[in-house]
Amino acid sequence: MHNNGISSLYELKDIKHKYGSHFCLDIPHLKIRRGSFTGLTGPNGSGKSTLMRILSFLEKPDSGSIYYKGILQYKGDTQAGNNTAMLIQEPYLLKRTVFENVAYGLKVRGIRENLNDTVCESLELVGLEPDKFGSRKWFELSGGEVKRVALASRLILKPEVLVLDEPLSNIDPMSISIIKEAIVNVSRRHGITLIISSHDPVWLNLICGDILRMYDGTIVGDGTENILTGPWFEDIDGLWSKELAGGEKIFAVKPPDKNSIAVLNPSEIIISLKRQKDISAQNMLKGRITNMVSLEKRDALKIDVEVQDMTFRCSLTQHAAGELNLIPGKKVWLIFKASSLQWQ
């Protein structure tokens, strides 16, 4: 027995797991609090889905240890997988009716009380009319409807952990708000720990307390950081640089490897309305504000600035943003030191 305190539901240590043909998930340490909402972002192939399957106990990592509620998993029969439910990116429906699909999880748990009402309620949550859809067969649904039925069959279980891999992809725009609301409401109401990946960063930022940004199988930041990938080339003054598509250069100190990944904390970036002269910072990039998000819990704004083919995420207090009169579409200068880029 290993106790890591009540607050952390998951604790992962030295997880290594091969996925795809040549990728390797490498997570030295990760804690996920009970009842928290954790978002996963990162490009395709960065290991989000693999990490999610490991957290759902659908895949055993090649090495490393997972503590769930302080109990080491995959050791003997201590399996807590029963209380996690995962929605995979392209869900599979059982070859039964919609009703039977949603009811399946409860049936295998031996719960038959109020089955009819519970299933109907669950279908309504994802915006499907029970009368119209309940008796439909698995092949009589559109791609988006399949996803919603699959989501309903997970929500109905009210598991301890709900793992949703891209729950909004492939869903028609009309239903997206219904689905978003259903996910958040059910999770909040039942104290479900939510682990979710999405290509909608604004929504993730809005609902998730923690965001994990993944790149090449590792967690490279909390999602607010800027990730700069190589290749890097030696430049003037002993600095190294990377060129953006439009020819702008980003300077950094000597990287450990030509293809190293650099992380730039948003708070290290200064936003200026004019080009600054006589300044020691080596990086000065001209960009355009594309997005501004206010965070519920913090007095901070997240500001996305597009510089050629790259988007930088900056953070500013509401007050400072007000003084600079920042609005989306405005042209600004981003200033940061070469040494602000931290090598991973």
């Binding site: 399957r53 997988g81 995979i88 059982l94 070859k95 399946y104 295998v108």
Partner: protein, 281 residues
Amino acid sequence: MITLLIQALKERTLSISFAAIDRLVHHSIIPSMNINSYRTEEALKKLKKKMDYIFNGFIEAFKLLFSGDEETFSAIFATLKVSSASITVSLIIGLPCGFILGYYDFPGRKYLKTVTDTLLSLPTVVVGLFVYSFISKRGPLGSYNILFTITGIVAAQTVLILPIVISLTASAIEGLDRRLRLTLITLGARGKQILFSSLFEARYALLTAAVTAYGRAISEVGVSMMIGGNIKWHTRTITTAIALESGKGEFAAGIALGVVLLTIAFSVNFALSFLKKISNA
């Protein structure tokens, strides 16, 4: 003319001359008279007799069936009893074995699958011989006294069709969507629930497997003959009866039983397509 004949006899060419005359009559005179020759008539008579023979066979067959001929029905019931029992036993053993072979990855699985696939084409007489050696008085299972009994045939037929059930089940399970396993586990299914839900997902392929195996059981003759011994009123099945009746030249009884066998095969396949239809509707 007479001198010619005598000369021909002397020269031993008489038969040739008669043949020449006969040919002449048939090829030129009879056609021109527009009547049937005795040759044609004889040929037609023979053909009619042959056709009547088969036709009467069918008539007799239906008479036998509709009059409820006890001997015929005894064979029909024996067949139904044996094949139903052997398919049931095969499904009970074969479905879980096929599931394990198709679902889990274990060392030697590939070889086991190859062996099972090979056993699909097991000759019935080899199974008969094999089982016979086990259950005959001198065999290891001789004390059970099941040689020349219905139980004996069921056991041997099970050996015959078990590879069909296992192999086709394994293929059906292998062919299931890879996401099914993740889905069942994440929805909370465990152990037996995964087994039954997976089999249910593959139900159409499994029905086909069962029908294929059943078809093999009702149509085989080698096992029933060797293990059952074709004992009248007891272990005589449709196929062994047909073999016996045709051996005796009693084609009517053989055809009657053949018709029944085809009807059973047709009904089973009809039931299968009906089942598929209602479960899809």
